[in-house]
């Protein structure tokens, strides 16, 4: 008998031999001892479930071939089943008593495809002219694990003016890079020195690949708060990485080198001078500078503004009934986090970059991982 309580339902599917994607539902696991799932921004997500050795399902589950979908439902709250995880089975981890099955989201399959040797992308837009090309190549491989994934929206990251497309320099290229790493780096490059939240994803429902230039919605109707829907939290403000005086080597007209220094004097007065060096990223996203030197200076000033900001990541244990997964929010969205407790007095907009939930003997527990968005 299923009671109207929060529940994770694991559904497994056979594999389509030609697309390497899910084909048909093969069963529903009703006897898992423990089920866990996660969903992260830009990183492959992992799920697991534990079955007794004697479970009827163990003989039907095939490592690397069986696909799973995990549904969350809470009839007590009127929440119909919704997919919180989709991916393929990985490794079974057995003991004499039980088997822990792991599964990875389809994003993980991007780590199993690599770029060609010395593919050059000179003066190319990051999304439409690199990500799209590499994604298409990954899909087009014979026996590609990603054939079943639909190509969705691919956008070009923009510079600080919000108009100009960021492009690579004339020497940009790749040499046998795992495509997951390449796409991660492309999203980092797309973010570089802008406030844009450039991300890529393969969606949970109807798996679709997207490359977004600035993903996320500011959610104002919901908040995470303590006291309130946060049961417990873990907060690391990021003081140790605070820097307020950065130096880099720039180029001058004619090919010479010059030192560029940018400081945040307000931060230095508050926290003492904290110097560091950094390297200007290949693609800066700074547009409109009159000279290369001006651009390098602007990049350095922006870097120090970012380095002088506390990174502030926070992990919160939420009361699942008061903050159900993906109920009016998604990964990448921002929302206000307010915590007043002892030395912590947090009141800022954070970006949701991950969620994980575990249903076990103690009931269903859920954690949200958030980061302070990049400083403007």
């Amino acid at each position: 008998m299923y009671l109207p309580q929060p529940r994770l339902i694991v559904e497994y599917l056979t594999q389509n031999a030609s697309t390497f994607g899910p084909l048909a539902v093969d069963g529903v696991i009703y006897d898992a001892l423990k089920v866990g799932w996660s969903w992260y921004s830009r990183y492959p997500s992992k799920a697991f479930f534990t079955l007794r050795q004697g479970s009827v399902h163990t003989s039907r589950l095939v490592p690397l071939k069986t696909h799973i979908r995990i549904w969350y439902t809470h009839p007590g709250l009127g929440i119909a089943p919704r997919v919180v995880f989709a991916g393929r089975l990985g490794e079974p981890d057995s003991t004499s008593d039980d088997v822990v099955w792991e599964a990875w989201s389809y994003l993980a399959d991007l780590s199993l495809t690599r770029t060609a040797y010395r593919t050059l992308y000179p003066t190319k837009a990051i999304g439409s002219e690199i990500a799209a090309v590499e994604w298409a190549a990954a899909k087009a491989q014979t026996y590609s694990l990603l054939t079943h994934v639909t190509t969705g929206t691919i956008e070009d990251p923009l510079g600080t003016d919000g108009i100009t497309t960021i492009k690579t320099d004339e020497r940009f290229g790749v040499v046998d890079v795992p495509r997951l790493l390449l796409l991660f780096d492309l999203s980092e490059i797309g973010r570089a020195n802008t406030v844009n939240n450039v991300v890529f994803e393969i969606t949970r429902t109807s798996p679709t690949f997207n490359f977004w230039k600035n993903r996320g919605t500011a959610q104002t109707a919901i908040r995470l708060q303590h006291p309130g829907n946060i049961r417990d939290y873990r907060f690391s403000p990021g003081y140790r990485s605070l820097r307020n005086d950065l130096a880099t080597i720039g180029t001058t007209v004619g090919g010479g080198a010059s030192e560029i220094i940018a400081t945040d004097e307000v931060s230095a007065a508050e926290w003492g001078r904290r110097q560091d060096v950094f390297t200007i990223k290949t693609l800066a996203g700074v547009v409109g500078a009159a000279t290369e030197s001006d651009a390098q200076k602007a990049i350095t000033e922006r870097a120090v503004a970012e380095a002088a900001q506390l990174s502030r990541s926070i992990q919160v244990d939420v009361l699942a009934a008061q903050f159900p997964p993906f109920e009016g929010w998604e990964i990448e969205d921002t929302l206000r986090v307010q915590i007043k407790r002892g030395r912590d007095n947090i009141d800022a907009d954070y970006r949701i970059v991950g969620i994980r939930g575990i249903a076990g003997p103690g009931g269903y527990d859920q954690q949200i991982i958030l980061q302070l968005p990049t400083a403007a």
């Binding site: 009671l3 309580q5 709250l77 109707a221 908040r223 708060q225 309130g228 829907n229 915590i339 007043k340």
Partner: protein, 295 residues
């Protein structure tokens, strides 16, 4: 008016079941049900689990007492099921088991996860509450009931049930409602007296006729919750749940209406408080609903 009656001299209520029905609501003995009743012999509500954080000092005498909160309250009832015939007794047993079945409770009330009110009656000499009050614990069965069948026990069987409360407070069964409106934007919110009462949290339902002030303030005299109601239109209803810290507008989450700090949700302390609303432009009323509680 003092009385010698004890809680076990009054009826108990649970999911439509009346235990001690051989007692009237006023505690009088009713012979009609003398041999057809679920008789309560003991009622223990004293076991409250405490989350008590203590840390001994490192290589020094003593320690530090950290936060301590009351978590779950456990209730137990023991007594006898008494019926006129053997078949009626068996049916009574079955009725009793069904009423205290945890899964049936959850199915019957999914929204509360199986929590129902266990009502009971206590006498009191406190003014305005005397001579007695029906009170309640909000509980869920904590295990399967014990029914002990014995040969030669006649037409009765002893029983024992255990319940658990996620909210350990002992509430008055009748809800209290306090309305703030154009007649009076300040009123007394009662909560027993200072000697026996316990802090409780109301829900506040705010009804508007149009755009309100950006600093509509609800206060209990020591804390003030400030809401920005400028986006409201006629017939909008905002509900503030002070216990959970949630704010909903027309049923949808509207957390951003709050402009005061996160710890400004307030309760009604023991002995009650004077509650008020200010900056009430286009607000028709703010109605507090809560149940008073005592230790």
């Amino acid at each position: 008016m003092s009385t010698d009656l004890r809680p076990s001299d009054f009826p108990f209520g649970w999911r439509g079941l009346t235990l001690n029905r051989h007692r009237t609501a006023a505690g009088a003995y009713d012979r009609t049900y003398e041999k057809n009743t679920m008789r309560v012999d003991t009622f223990d509500y004293s076991r409250v689990q405490v989350r008590d954080q203590r840390e001994p000092l490192n290589v020094a005498t003593g320690g530090v007492l950290g936060d301590a909160t009351e978590a779950f309250r456990y209730l137990s009832l023991t007594g006898s099921l008494v019926a006129p015939t053997g078949s009626e007794l068996e049916d009574m047993i079955s009725t009793f088991l069904a009423a205290f079945d945890i899964e049936e409770a959850i199915l019957a009330s999914p929204s509360t996860n199986g929590i129902f009110a266990l009502t009971f009656t206590c006498t009191t000499d406190i003014a305005t509450y005397t001579p007695y009050q029906v009170e309640k614990f909000l509980a869920r069965p904590a295990g399967y009931p014990v029914i002990r069948e014995r040969r030669s026990s006649g037409l009765s069987v002893p029983f024992a049930v255990e319940l658990v409360c996620e909210d350990p407070r002992r509430y008055r069964n009748t809800a209290t409602s306090v309305t703030l409106n154009g007649s009076a934007w300040s009123a007394t919110a009662a909560n027993w007296n200072a000697a026996v009462g316990r802090l409780v949290y109301p829900t506040v339902t705010i009804t508007a006729t149009g755009a309100g002030a950006n600093n509509f303030t609800l206060s209990n005299g020591s804390k003030s919750l400030v809401l920005d109601l400028t986006a409201l239109v006629n017939n909008d209803v905002v509900v503030v749940d002070m216990a959970r810290g949630t704010i909903k507008k027309n049923g949808a989450h509207a957390a951003s209406l709050r402009t005061s700090a996160v710890d400004t949700f307030w309760g009604i302390p023991a002995g009650g408080a004077t509650v008020s609303a200010s900056n009430t432009t286009n607000v028709t009323s703010a109605v507090l609903a809560y149940s008073q509680a005592r230790a």
